[in-house]
């Protein structure tokens, strides 16, 4: 498998993995690093890739695991503090500049979800995969995915209605 073949297989889903990474890692730079890392790994195992039926699902799983690792190592180290500081600043800025922008509210609501529900919402409502594919990516049964999805959607809706009623948006 040469480079152009590899890119043909692997480039179509670069945006999808990027969005997933960004959903989990929040910062764009970190997500970019994650994607670069992912493509290195894929390139390294490019001979095995031919055997996989669904490279995209495989890449999604890899991204998810990589992001989990990053989050874990960040929690364990001092970086947590630095990062959360940075995050708060970011949202404060958001609040000032575009609090009226209700889309950012949805963004924040999704951010508050547990990681697993975050991934599932991302994969289903934004990337539009079917439940079975998602099940393969996150290593869950499709029914369990459906339950998690429903839970996440209901949480978002409740929060959204609350915000709506308070008249913030």
């Amino acid at each position: 498998m040469n480079q152009s073949d590899f890119l043909k297989v692997v480039l179509p889903f670069k945006d999808k993995v990027f969005r997933l990474a960004k959903r989990l890692l929040v910062s764009t730079e970190e997500a970019e690093d994650a994607i670069q890392e992912l493509y290195f790994k894929l390139w390294k195992s490019k001979d095995k890739i031919v055997e996989y039926k669904n490279v995209e699902a495989f890449a999604m799983t890899m991204t998810k695991n990589y992001c989990y690792d990053r989050l874990k190592s960040k929690q364990a180290s001092n970086l947590t503090l630095v990062h959360s500081n940075y995050l708060e600043k970011d949202t404060a800025l958001y609040k000032k500049v575009e609090y009226q922008d209700s889309l950012s509210i949805v963004h924040q609501l999704i951010e508050k979800l547990p990681d697993q529900q975050k991934i599932i919402i991302q994969l289903r409502d934004i990337e539009e995969y079917d439940l079975e594919e998602i099940g393969k990516m996150v290593d869950m049964k499709p029914t369990a995915v459906r339950v998690a999805l429903s839970r996440a959607r209901k949480t978002i809706r409740e929060e959204l209605i609350k915000k709506h009623n308070y008249g913030i948006s």
Binding site: F6, K22, R146
Partner: protein, 144 residues
Amino acid sequence: MESANIEKLIKKYLEGNTSLQEETTLKNYFTKGIVAPHLQEYQTLFTYFVTAKEESYLKTIELSPLKKSKRNYLWLSIVASIALLVGVFVGKQQYEEYQQKQEAERLFAELSKGLKLISTNLQKGEQAVASLYTLENTVNKIVK
């Protein structure tokens, strides 16, 4: 009538039972058409989903340059270590051979020096013996 249908779909959607197609219908309704007032809170949600899909990875993905140089270093180190190993072996052999040769040459020179000494001395003796012979002959002639 349409909004009733949408309401039904939303109920299904919250339970996670909608198909991808039905979800597309929902997205289309909330992003393209006029939304019924009691459904407005969902509008932001679906609009967000649609816009979120537009974000893309703009940096170029680098595969070969870094990878290649890494591999080159690996090969270089392997080759260098093999060359060093071979060099040490061959050098040692050559050195030993050279030393043996030197030793042999020294022995040969000593030996030939000794042999030369013997041969000159022998020659002296032979001359002496030859003169003895002539003496004996003349003595014999005279005595006879």
